[in-house]
């Protein structure tokens, strides 16, 4: 949302507080109760559609296509024997596979891949001074595009939520290599929504703050209002690039101010997860994935947000996939492991088992008459087809969830070199965004993948 479309007092704090103090907790942030739904359980009693969530689930370094790509196209896909997608087979009614699409924006190892599959646009090279480039996303990532739509139509307390499962072990090549959720960049400024890496911090943020006296919330909101005013008058003195940075600061301040004044969510408070320090030098990635998936599912069920992203591993990640038998950082391993590339294959297979846990968690969480996975559209992507060659053709992509009935599931669509943004467009439409095209510059796609959509 651009700053200019926010009025100075975006919300009537007093009215919100009255709601809060009077104990009348309205829909925002509440788990849906049956009484709120129509008799079919497919819409709210007042006729509004149930919310569909949009998610972006990312893993780094690509796959081995021979063990990834399903053996046939069309409905009821099957993985190759012992294929990378084996763990998703029990959920395949909810999973469609997209293959055969290409990155159309100007290519660069890793950088253009992540930017294309997460934003639909080119990466923005920051400065033009060295060969190992630093980049950020030129355009906002899909989760933020979806968040714009959701916040404009039916605002949630959190515009979006971001978590990471494994640690950043990449190189200093800009935000494209470190972060997933981006807000776009006009002049090389870096504007990201950092992923929470600590389960305990994520828990504290959503569930752990305890009860705060309403007058304290009011005072904190007044302070933020004053800060927003300071930002506005400072902006006038600054150049364009700094204005962009302060615009985001302003938006961020308003986000928090709005939330302080909104009714509190009444979620069932989960148990504090604690943190997961390395054991014997190994990241506890299975445990961390489990707790992050659980917390995110709960946040979605409580309607704390409608848009989220999970970064299982970063672009070009150096994570050591030890549960898959790997002893070296993944990026290095991808570039050096000799045939038959067992560890690369096992790493992707393992990664998909972690995705399977998250999907299963959503499937087991009731939402309306169905479950959360019924009501979600989740785009699963990585920045390369195969990391060892940095290839960006035949990109491995998944679209998970039924999108509130908009998505078929269990289809393998195989393109012939079309634009990866078609998958992004399809996933966004699956989340209920009424759009006919999506993407930027050479990444613009004007046709969704109809084969994945219900008429």
């Amino acid at each position: 949302m651009s700053r200019s479309s926010l009025p100075r007092r975006a919300i009537d704090r007093r009215a919100m507080l009255k709601g809060l103090l009077g104990g009348t907790l309205v829909g925002v942030g509440l788990p849906m109760l049956e009484a709120m739904l129509d008799s079919n359980g497919t819409a709210f009693a007042d006729g509004d559609a149930l919310p569909t969530r949009f998610g972006l689930w990312f893993f780094g370094n690509g796959v081995r296509l021979d063990s990834w790509t399903p053996t046939s196209t069309g409905a009821n896909w099957q993985p190759p024997a012992d294929g990378a997608l084996t763990a998703l087979v029990p959920h395949k009614e909810y999973v469609s596979v997209v293959s055969g699409l290409s990155v159309k924006t100007p290519r660069h190892p890793h950088h253009s891949g992540i930017s294309a599959v997460c934003s639909g646009g080119p990466h923005l090279k920051v400065d033009n001074v060295r060969d190992t480039i630093v980049s950020t996303f030129k355009y906002k990532s899909v989760d933020q595009f979806a968040a714009d739509h959701f916040q404009a139509t039916n605002a949630s307390p959190y515009r979006s939520l971001e978590v990471a499962v494994t640690r950043f072990r990449g190189t200093d090549e800009g935000t494209s290599f470190q972060y997933l959720s981006h807000n776009g960049s006009v002049g090389g400024e870096t504007n990201v929504n950092p992923s929470e890496e600590s389960p305990q911090a994520f828990y504290n943020r959503l569930f752990g703050m305890g009860t705060v006296a309403p007058l304290v919330l009011k005072a904190r909101a007044s302070v933020l209002d004053a800060v927003a005013g300071q930002i506005e008058s400072l902006e006038k003195r600054l150049g364009n690039r700094d204005k962009q940075r302060l615009d985001q600061h302003f938006t961020s301040v308003r986000e928090l101010e709005k939330r302080l004044s909104a009714p509190v969510a009444e979620c069932t408070k989960p148990v504090a997860p604690g943190n997961f320090p390395d054991l014997g030098g190994n990241e506890q990635m299975v445990e961390k994935n489990k707790v992050m998936s659980d917390l995110m599912a709960l946040a979605l069920a409580c309607r704390l947000t409608q848009s989220f992203s999970i970064m299982f591993s970063t672009c070009g990640s150096g994570v050591i996939m030890w549960p898959a038998g790997s002893k070296d950082g993944q990026h290095y391993m991808n570039h050096t492991e000799p045939a038959p590339w067992t560890k690369q294959h096992e790493s992707v297979k393992f990664t998909m088992s972690q995705l399977a846990y998250f999907l299963e968690r959503l499937k087991n969480t009731p939402d309306g008459a169905g479950n959360l996975l019924d009501q979600s559209s989740i785009l699963v992507v990585t920045e390369h087809a195969e990391g060892w060659t940095h290839s960006q053709d035949d990109m491995p992509m998944l679209i998970c969830g039924k999108g509130g009935g908009r998505l078929k599931g269990n289809v393998h669509f195989r393109g012939t070199g079309g634009n990866t943004s078609r998958a992004l467009l399809t996933a966004l439409r699956g989340a209920g965004l009424p759009i006919a095209q999506y993407g930027y510059e050479a990444g613009l796609a004007t046709a969704p993948i109809g084969e994945l959509e219900n008429a």
Binding site: R130, T190, Q248
Partner: protein
């Protein structure tokens, strides 16, 4: 633990040093003119290249800078929120300072700053005496003139400049607004103070600049940083902390325009213990060794690997840098040649030094056996630029090429397999022999010839930085060449590197980038060249480079804003 009082006293002494130097300024100039190498700082830069600096920008405070700023405002007894609770510092082109000049503040980060701000203020406001010492009075109502006086005085420290009337009005207004429903004016003042501490004027270091005077013929058309902007720039560069009242006073009265005065002040500050950690942090970013804290090696292959080893390695390298710069005369080149270093028990085991145990570091002199000297044979450098199980001549060479020579190496081209051919167990080869593939293949050769030949010099050191006689059971060939200069092994290579003018020029450029928080460009040529000249003429004395930096035009002037994105 240093007290706030002693810190203030030191600053005060710094200020008096400035004043003394003012009186003597004329003499300094005259004497300087005859003193060999001593007058470079006061000489105008030679107009060899153009000086067209980039426009001003705003700099988000790094987490240590935010922490130090809170500490400076509220005193040493404050329990400062941990860095892990604050927005993270990223690195861009290696430097946290550069990333900070690119960042905004995301919704999550606003939450983190807000949470930390109240964690700070709640401590202070819980103790009436502490709070009163900050506020300076106990106002009954927000109308009390002392509320306004408080925001003027304390605001100046928090925002590192004087607040204008409207800004003070705004802070008084939010205090009044909250005071209408809080129990006490003191409580309302806490929220007024929160508006001061969550402000962009607090969280960012704002630089806008002002027009240069007509007498400044050399810089017409540019902007110069204002006195207080410069005071903050100096203070955060040297101390990662805000300017105190004395420095702000000096800045406001134009004293920072006087080079000899500034030189004296900087030298004074560099003698204080607080100046060490910020320069060590520069070195940490320059060598990219924060990554050592996450060092991961295969424990089966390297039984001496432990979870603390990487931190020990980083500590050794930083101690070596600190000692070289602050205690040993400051010649940066000796970093590459010295046989003095610091080890604890686990590092001693890697060095093969007997008699050192436990986590404490002791100073040692390495044996004169030709195997090791300086930074480039430290286990930290060798282990960081290697893989989990194997060495990497490519990574070690790449570091030298990029970080010490400031040269560029492109990434592998798209669509090229970077896999090495598998080793045949019946025909064992050294890694160097396997890497010959890079030299036979034209596609790989053009770049790898920039890296691998340098890296071959380090092949006697395994992936954890320990000496080895054999690689894969075969003898190791460490003869190679660096841009046509032959060498045999790491110490000869390090000796070559120490003497290369490119290395001194490179560290100068990297320090310039850190200090101005961006990459240097063509328009910085004159400024950077003059710094390099002064670094050379002071025999690569790093402390003097810091002083030159603060006096350098690149540190003081900025270009006009560019309005097109």
């Amino acid at each position: 633990m240093e007290t706030k009082l002693s810190r203030r006293r030191r600053w005060a002494r710094g200020a008096s040093a400035l004043v003394v130097a003012t009186a003597a300024a004329g003499c300094v100039g005259a004497i300087g003119g005859d003193s060999p190498g001593g007058n470079v700082l006061t000489e105008p830069p030679k107009p060899k290249a153009a000086f067209e600096p980039e426009p001003a920008t705003i700099h988000r405070l790094t987490s240590v800078q935010v922490q130090n700023t809170w500490r400076a405002l509220f005193g040493e007894k404050l329990t400062v929120p941990q860095a892990s609770e604050l927005p993270s510092d990223d690195q861009a082109y290696g430097f946290r300072s550069i990333a900070a000049a690119m960042k905004t503040i995301s919704p999550l980060e606003v939450e983190e700053y807000e949470h930390a701000t109240y964690a700070v203020l709640d401590q202070v406001w819980k103790e009436d005496a502490w709070r009163d010492s900050i506020v300076g009075c106990s106002p009954e109502t927000s109308e009390d003139p002392c509320v306004r006086a408080y925001f003027e005085r304390f605001g100046r420290l928090a925002w590192r400049r004087r607040l204008d009337t409207e800004e003070v009005d705004g802070l008084v207004a939010v205090t009044k607004e909250v005071g209408a429903y809080t129990n006490t004016t003191a409580e309302a003042l806490k929220f007024g103070t929160a508006a001061l501490l969550q402000s962009p004027h607090f969280l960012f270091r704002i630089e806008v600049g002002e027009p240069v005077g007509a007498e400044d013929l050399e810089h017409q058309g540019l902007l110069r940083l204002t006195g207080t902007e410069l005071a903050s720039r100096v203070s955060y560069l040297l101390l990662d902390a805000p300017p105190n009242t004395d420095l702000l006073d000096a800045a406001e009265s134009g004293l920072l325009d006087d080079p000899s005065l500034v030189a004296a002040g900087v030298e004074y500050l560099l003698a204080s213990p607080e100046a060490r950690p910020p320069l060590v942090r520069f070195f940490r970013d320059f060598m990219n060794i924060a990554r050592l804290d996450q060092l991961d090696k295969n424990a089966e292959m390297f039984p001496s690997f432990s979870q603390t080893l990487g931190v020990s390695m980083r500590t050794e390298m930083e101690k070596l840098f600190e000692a070289t710069v602050f205690d040993e005369g400051g010649d940066f080149r000796s970093l590459f040649t010295t046989r003095s270093t610091y080890v604890n028990g686990e590092l001693a085991a890697i060095y093969g030094i007997d008699g050192v145990t436990g986590p404490e570091f002791v100073s040692v002199t390495l044996p004169d056996d030709g195997r090791r000297a300086g930074l480039l044979t430290s286990p930290g450098f060798l282990a960081l630029n290697a893989h989990k199980t194997a060495t990497s001549p490519t990574h070690r060479g790449r570091f030298v090429r990029i970080s010490l020579l400031c040269q560029d190496v492109p990434p592998p081209p798209m669509g090229v397999s970077t896999e090495l051919p598998p080793s045949d167990p019946n025909q064992p080869k050294t890694l160097r022999e396997r890497l010959e593939e890079h030299r036979l293949n034209d596609e790989c050769k053009s770049c790898h010839q920039l890296m691998d030949p340098i890296g071959f010099g380090f092949e006697h050191f395994d992936a954890i930085g320990a000496w080895r006689e054999l690689d894969n059971g075969l003898p190791i060939d460490v003869t190679s060449e660096l841009d046509g200069k032959p060498f045999a092994g790491a110490t000869e290579l390090a000796g070559l590197i120490a003497e290369l003018p490119e290395v001194g020029a490179c560290i100068t450029r990297r320090f310039y980038q850190h200090a101005v928080a961006r990459l240097d460009r063509k328009g910085d040529g004159r400024a950077v060249n003059s710094l390099i000249e002064s670094f050379v003429s002071t025999d690569y004395d790093f402390k003097k480079l810091v002083t030159s930096m603060v006096l350098n035009e690149g540190f003081r002037y900025v270009g006009q804003p560019k309005e097109t994105p």
